[in-house]
């Protein structure tokens, strides 16, 4: 049946049809929906792991036990999973193992723009790169065949435009391969030096065999063109831009496997055209391979290493006329993302700013605490860096700076990699104050359950990790819980914990305002008679409040009635109760 599917959904379908039976992932835009979609198939066991390293190791364990397994992550997640990745390359697999990784050129929702293709080469693990949903489905199935044929994990590389575009797919039936037996094989699975030394040549031999396969593989195909002026090598979404911009004007070598790449096929293609051009996003990865073959090639001299490409850019760089549109001669204010109305993080950040603290931030919705008017965050690096960074910051400073510095980290991010930093704080005794922003969900990626929510990926009740007990258990004696909507108490508790001469954790607990089970009292009422136009309510950056003719106005379609602005108004102009009179 022909249906429209998101690239991620199509990969999930491919996994299902190929008989994948075990999935373990950590959410991360743009990879998240692969796991959410595959979890909807009853036959597939699927889970959210605490982080990507755990996810990959769990998927590897399932492969070892003989079932086709999968894990998904965003590009930066692969950094976390890199440790097992490089050694799983040596062990190989038992049943097929696919690692889905989704890059985010243009950084729609990421902290860097790394090119994950380098991991394939560095870890010697083959990487397939679909260019639309139909290929997402087909490549997922093919990846299992390759995985088992060549005894290797396979990387399935997505990107924002493939992951988050819907295109037409034709679905098939699920075929479940028989579970493979697990047999002890220390020489293959115990990677201590003596064994690893024998496995490394196997890895290199495998790469040679895969390169041979790449020479004739159907997914590395040449599409003929009318003119030989250029010959274009491309892959992924860039292939679509090339075809959109140029149709069949020039021959195209479309690579479905991006590592290892063929050699003869590329040489032959180059020999048949006047000028070889590589169209690829981010780094010159294919281009470097062409150069290593001694070919003269154009690539990053034409196309940027930064951001996404597009069909217009392909036309422009290859000397074709480009369509243009009309720009409105008007200053158009930007519309950056903001914390939602009623977001429990907002008031907490307001207090941090009021206390003029140095705030080491982390990855999640609360990163938006960095933007105006709150401007409450000093750093954002990667998952968990707030907690570990705080320890170093406090150790390197004096007592006074320790009393003026905190880390903020979300519940899911804390479990992902904040807890190890907290163990360091306890063990090496820095006078650090960590604030866990517990909104009882993984927010930014679109409401995924996590070990602190009490529900699993399938929505069933499960063990709920108790954050207070966890913090106590790793050696933190001072653990306080506050409601971020209650700003006065928050301020008092933060001051007390900063003054304490030992490590402490403050859990700022209130569920995300967008969660369906959260009941809201209804919009705040603004009284123009009482409003003096002092703009105190504007200092929290709530999208539901604006000033019209010098008076505060509440947008009732957005306001949920959290009451934070009410606490800021000294004149009683903003009130929940007002409406009752």
């Amino acid at each position: 049946m022909k249906t429209l599917m998101l690239g991620n959904e199509a990969v999930a379908r491919g996994l299902y049809e190929a008989g994948c039976s075990f999935v373990s992932s950590y959410p991360g835009t743009p990879s998240t929906e692969i796991t959410e979609c595959v979890a909807k198939y009853e036959e597939v066991y699927a889970e959210w792991a605490p982080n990507e390293k755990v996810a990959l190791e769990a998927a590897f364990g399932a492969s070892l036990r003989g079932v086709r397994s999968f894990c998904a992550m965003k590009h930066v997640g692969l950094n976390v999973a890199a440790d097992p990745l490089f050694t799983i390359s040596y062990t190989g697999v038992n049943a097929g193992l696919i690692i889905g990784v989704a890059d985010d050129a243009g950084m729609h929702s990421s902290q860097n723009e790394q090119d994950s293709r380098h991991y394939a080469m560095a870890a010697r693990i083959p990487m397939l790169e679909p260019s639309d949903s139909a290929e997402g489905l087909a490549f997922a199935k093919l990846a299992y065949e390759l995985s088992e044929q060549f005894d290797t994990a396979v990387l399935l590389k997505m990107c924002t435009r493939v992951s988050h575009s819907q295109s037409v797919v034709e679905t098939g039936e699920r075929k479940l391969p028989a579970q493979r037996a697990y047999e002890k094989n220390p020489a293959k699975y115990i990677m201590m030096p003596a064994n690893a030394k024998r496995r490394h040549p196997e890895v290199e031999a495998r790469t040679k065999a895969l390169t041979e396969w790449a020479e004739t593989a159907e997914i590395n195909r040449v599409e003929p063109g009318q003119k030989k002026t250029y010959g274009i090598i491309t892959s992924s979404t860039c292939y679509q831009y090339v075809k959109e911009a140029l149709g069949d004007t020039y021959p195209v070598l479309k690579l479905g496997m991006i590592w290892p790449m063929p050699e003869k096929k590329i040489r032959d293609f180059a020999a048949a055209v006047e000028k070889l051009v590589v169209v690829e996003e981010l780094d010159g990865f294919i281009e470097a391979h062409c150069r290593s073959l001694g070919l003269t090639v154009s690539g990053k001299d034409l196309f940027p290493e930064i951001g996404e490409l597009s069909q217009n850019m392909v036309q422009e760089k290859l000397g074709q006329a480009v369509q243009k549109g009309e720009i409105l001669s008007e200053e158009i204010p930007a519309r950056p993302p903001v914390m939602c109305a009623g977001c429990p993080h907002r008031s907490l950040f307001y207090v941090l700013k009021k206390l003029n603290l140095t705030v080491l931030g982390d990855i999640g919705c609360y990163t938006l605490g960095a933007v105006a008017p709150l401007n409450a965050i000093d750093t954002t690096v990667c998952m968990g860096a707030s907690v570990s960074g705080l320890h170093g910051f406090v150790k390197a400073g004096d007592e006074e700076s320790a009393g003026k510095t905190v880390a903020v980290i979300g519940d899911s991010t804390f479990i992902h990699s904040g807890v190890t930093g907290l163990i360091n704080i306890a063990y090496n005794e820095s006078n650090s104050t960590v604030i866990i922003l517990d909104n009882s969900i993984t927010g930014m990626t679109g409401h995924q359950q996590n070990p602190t929510t009490g529900y699993n990926l399938k929505g069933d009740p499960c063990t709920k990790i108790d954050l207070e007990s966890l913090c106590h258990a790793v050696g933190i004696k001072r653990v306080r819980v506050v409601d971020p909507y209650d700003m006065e108490t928050c301020q008092t508790v933060i001051k007390e914990e900063l003054a304490a001469k030992e490590p402490s954790v403050i859990i700022s607990r209130r569920p995300c305002a967008l969660l369906k089970y959260v009941k809201h009292p209804g919009p705040i009422c603004a009284n123009p008679e009482k409003c003096k136009g002092c703009k105190a309510c504007m200092s929290i950056g709530c999208p539901a409040i604006s000033m019209v003719d010098g008076k505060a106005v509440i947008d009732e379609t957005l306001c949920v009635g959290c009451g934070v602005c009410e606490q800021l108004c000294k004149f009683g102009a903003l009130s929940q109760r007002e409406k009752n009179f």
Binding site: Q323, I327, G541, P543
Partner: protein, 190 residues
């Protein structure tokens, strides 16, 4: 046929995603090749969001580039103004005349441009600005703006009411189906 390009733009949370999915689904049933590009993640949090819907005999790129959109369906005035560069000369802009202030305007760091409807009308474009929010509220919820806009858009497609209703039924939760159908009808009748 030549590929047709529709951009759906608005503010994160307004329901642009559902509109693009609904349209994509409908176009597929009519036998077109279809691509719909969505936005997930951070930009959904009240930011400027844009989705692309493309259909034809064979659609390659999932995105629409500058000067290529046959139509921009905008959920908000400022967002229509932001993306005019993507419109083909003589293309169509259907826009909800609602004004939603972005944070720089709320914070007083920027001003919301005045008389945007007139400025849009001065472009080489067919501009249809109307109050979709009021119609949505009349239908039962401000959240139904997307269906009102789909109704307005339906006037430019030769799909039957049954085909639209079928796509709506498959795209919205059954709890809100009647309200959404009402919103669609009011957009179409407006």
């Amino acid at each position: 046929m030549e590929t047709k390009n529709m951009m759906i733009v608005g503010v994160g949370g307004q329901g642009t995603l559902l509109a693009s999915k609904l349209l994509g689904r409908l176009l597929l049933t009519k036998g077109f090749d279809v691509k719909v590009s969505e936005v997930h993640g951070m930009s959904q949090r009240g930011g400027s969001v844009v989705t692309y819907v493309r259909w034809g005999d064979r659609v390659c790129s999932p995105i629409i580039d500058k000067g290529q959109a046959d139509c921009i369906l905008s959920f908000e005035m400022l967002e229509a103004a932001r993306y005019t560069e993507y419109l083909k000369p003589g293309g169509r802009i259907i826009v909800n005349s609602q004004q939603i202030n972005p944070m720089p305007v709320i914070a007083g760091a920027a001003a919301y441009p005045e008389n945007l409807a007139e400025k849009l009308a001065a472009l080489d474009a067919k501009v249809d600005a109307f109050d979709a929010l009021s119609l949505a509220e009349e239908a039962g919820s401000s959240k139904a703006v997307n269906l009102v806009l789909m109704g307005r858009l339906a006037k430019h497609f030769d799909f039957t009411d049954e085909e639209w209703m079928d796509a709506i039924e498959k795209s919205v939760p059954s709890k809100f189906l009647e309200m959404n159908k009402k919103a669609f009808e009011s957009g179409k009748a407006s």
